[in-house]
Amino acid sequence: MMQALLVDEVSGAPLLDLTADVRSATVSRNRHGSARIALTLEAPGLAAAQEIRRLRGAPELLITDRGRIVARGRLEDRGIRAGVDLAAYGYQNALRDTLYTAVWSDVSLERWRPITAFERGDTQPDRWETDTQTNGLSVSPKEGETLGGGLTAFWWLYQVPSQSTREIAGLQYRLRHLLPSSSWKIEIWRLNEAFSASGPVSSFSGTGATADIAASLLFVTSTRYIGLKIYYDAASAAYAASTGTHWVRFTNLRVVSLDAYRPNTTLAAGAAAGATTISVTSAADLYVGQEIVLNSAGALSEIRTVTAISGTTISIGPALTNNHSGGESVTGFFASADQIIGDLVANVRASNPSQLSASLARVQASDYDLMDAVYEDMRPAAILDLLEIRGSQSALRWRWRVDDHKALCWAPEQSGRIWDVDAEEIEIEESIADMYNAVYATYSEAGGRALRTSVETDAISQTRRRLVRQLAATAGNTTDATNAERVRSAVLADAARLQPRIRIPVRHVFDRSGGEYPPDVVSPGDTIRIRNLDLAQSVHDNDRAFAIEEVEIDLRSGEVVIVPANPAPTLELLLARPRPTRYAAQPTVRAPGARRIEA
């Protein structure tokens, strides 16, 4: 039999046994775990009410079944009237208590700016022409300006967000430059918050010709600022050439605060110019979508994107420009959702150690390199919501939730279970208000003109409903007709089906093997299948098998109310995924997570 207890949230010591007085009890779960546990105690339970009022801290409402935890949450609402109404909220709320500011990976140029003369005495930014509008940081000496003499440098500066809990551990970049002579220098510095440092960590000199270098630079010591210094290392002299004749250009900049899981391998064999595959000695920490650097900071170094992995054979794009020899380094960075989640858990536990488990055993490793992962003043739950959208390379959407043991879970959505039920009676509330069986998608051509795909219809739905309902689906900012058609099809697949709200009185559910379980095991992300419904009549309208978005369980009657997933995950996934525009023609605005590598 079940038991309802109030326990001390830190020690777990029981404070009050409410079981005998429970008049109604429901547990609501959403896709992030237990959301709300609502208990109403019998009106006579005033002794308990008085004790409840006196409880300090954030006592935990714990519901168990013979030791098995059915639901738990922190007591947040206490209403004492004729009876006692208690509402506890699941530990997913622990991720809504604190704020988080940190940089993990930043490919944006927004945080780069010139260092002013007030900040460093050796800089004169007004003597240099700059440009940040073409997918990189460009700088060129201005015609007629006096440069040299040690105090006329130009500095690009990157600063981590104020109070960021993480510092910069590495920098990845592609550097192209055309400088007149070796007296012209380019240096990479780690700076402290006073804009000073002991010296550069990497330096290059002009050669009078165009040079091209790619590097994945891991700092020995992390830093809060990075400086990119360009200067003329000679006596002061007027720069006589036209502005733009000589230049320095950083592209594919990536600032990271991580050094774990870094791909760090070598070419197992030479790779010729034009090759689209390379062979590496180890594929550890290499993932599709990741940017890697061949022969970092060395001669003929290149930066490429991993497009496929087959053992130690790595497909890359675009094709190699240079020849490479076996043994050359293959390095990069990898910012994954699971690393960030681990830090979020630590962040929460630093303030509220009793609210979340330290265990990350249920956090699965993600396979998607998060290029843009900068968070400022955000709730951990909001960050996790973002990661759900962007956290995976695969077609499946990933989900976060906090289980009833306070452990944060991070896994693909498909990991839910399938439960069969035999419904003796079923109540379904449905409406055609959100049902559409003819859909087209809107997108745009390169010049911005709105375009529409052809209409795709669901013939079965139109026949059954004898009604055509049209919907225009927005395919985002894509200019790709094929992509827009995929969005159209996904929207139709979801919208043509009714999304009922279902109330099913069940005492048991059955797993796919026929094993019998109490209904309280049902969770969002699972699928409920009503196996005694007529298959022929119900296969289309989503009323036989339901992916569960929310569930409410009456712990006295066993009745289960299910809200099916809506919209379906396939649609959300398509709309949320970054556009494959990294190599599209000269984008002037970088789509999230998408950059181009210049030929």
């Binding site: 009890a25 289980d403 094993g515």
Partner: protein, 494 residues
Amino acid sequence: MGILYLALTDKSTSTVVLSDGGRGASPLRLAQEGWAPVVAGLRPPMSLGGLGPYADVEETIPIMAATTGAPDVYAALRQLEALLRQAALWRRYPHQYAPVYVQIVPAGSARSISNPLEALVVGYPGDTEGGAGPIELASAWSRAPLAGLLDDIRISLIRRGAWLGETDVASDSASAGTAFTATFATSHDEYSPITFGWDLPNTPSSSGQLYAISGSGLVATDDADRLLVYDDASFASPSAPWSTSVQSNALGGNVRRYTPAAANTFSGTSLNVPSIFAVNGTYLVYASLRASSAAPEWSLYVSVALRSTRTIQTEPITWKRGDYNTAELVALGIISLPTGDPQIGTPIAAATNAVQLFAAASTISGSPVLDVDYLVIVRVDPSAFAQRYDLVYGSAAAAYWGTSQQLAMEVLAGTPDRRNPVGYVFKPVSLGGMQPVGITGSPELWARGDTIAGVWVAGTSDQYAAGLYRARDGSGLWAPTFSFTRRRAYLIPT
């Protein structure tokens, strides 16, 4: 059904007899048109709220007053109203009021009126703020008392669904990890409440020699065949990072030890397929766990492969040990082996062919180890009752222990009136000032069979997986005696 005896009583200061076979002197009588008790229904088996398997029932009992004068009627009605109000107040303030019972002996019963069946009164229907009282008077009230006869009075009350009768006891003793079976003389037709306690023999004669309860628990069921214990010998040969480790006082002498090589990485060890799984059904799985360090949080789950084609597993749980490195009883979850083919509903053999226990540690800093002394697996379907209890305070400090002490359960000794007992269920006998020990889990069993089987899991602060208590000098485990007191339940008074 005739009523030979019907009374409301707090067993102390107040009793109102409504029917006594004509022998009593109470001015109140069960009305002549008669009354029959409501037969309680079963609550849903997984239901939260109330007590036991039977729903509370609402009774409306017609009574009449027949006496020589109005003062006696008034006094009797006042007493009756006070008793019912006392029942409601007891529900509000259980430590300040005595519980009230309704007692009954049906006509023709072999039972004597000195040994009635009884059910706890937990209030009355209007027992809310502004609600009606428990007594409804007749419209003839204004004149009838003067005539000494007042008919058509109705009292309303809410009582526990089961009538409780005879008491019998059973006991058995066993050390931790060893299943015990206490056997009653007979089975009963209805689920009957059973309360339990235990006695500790031969406690050490001086303080400082005993590390008492510190994280322990009991699993109990009403059928010995439904509860089995599996120790390290029941596991398959281990491979790293799992191993077999010889430990003092471990069941069978060994524990199955997990030494995690990496944090947050599940690793499994295989069991020989537990014999209990030969019967399809729903199982609760518990483990006696001990961790060397308080730093890690351990995640555990059980995986079962069915017919080589499908794997089922428990939802992973997370467990963190307390201040002491004692064994604890941890519920790993629920496993169900199919009772029928999921498609056509015909019985099939589960043919379970692989069972594994998986564990992961949140950190490996300090090289922590997790010891699994044994697993307890309980089959809970279709109707067998199983319960699990936790002792959650290890606060019975050694210094308090003296000679010849007993630790016994005081509350619930034959009374079904459990109210908010947390922290006060168990307390030592004959030891003033001893700190009470807490419990979670309803401290009562409801069973129909004639046996109670259980496994006690407990540990001491400096020993692996030891018994409930033991002397520090290593003189061996003690086997406490578990005693069970049952009251026979009736739905229809007999």
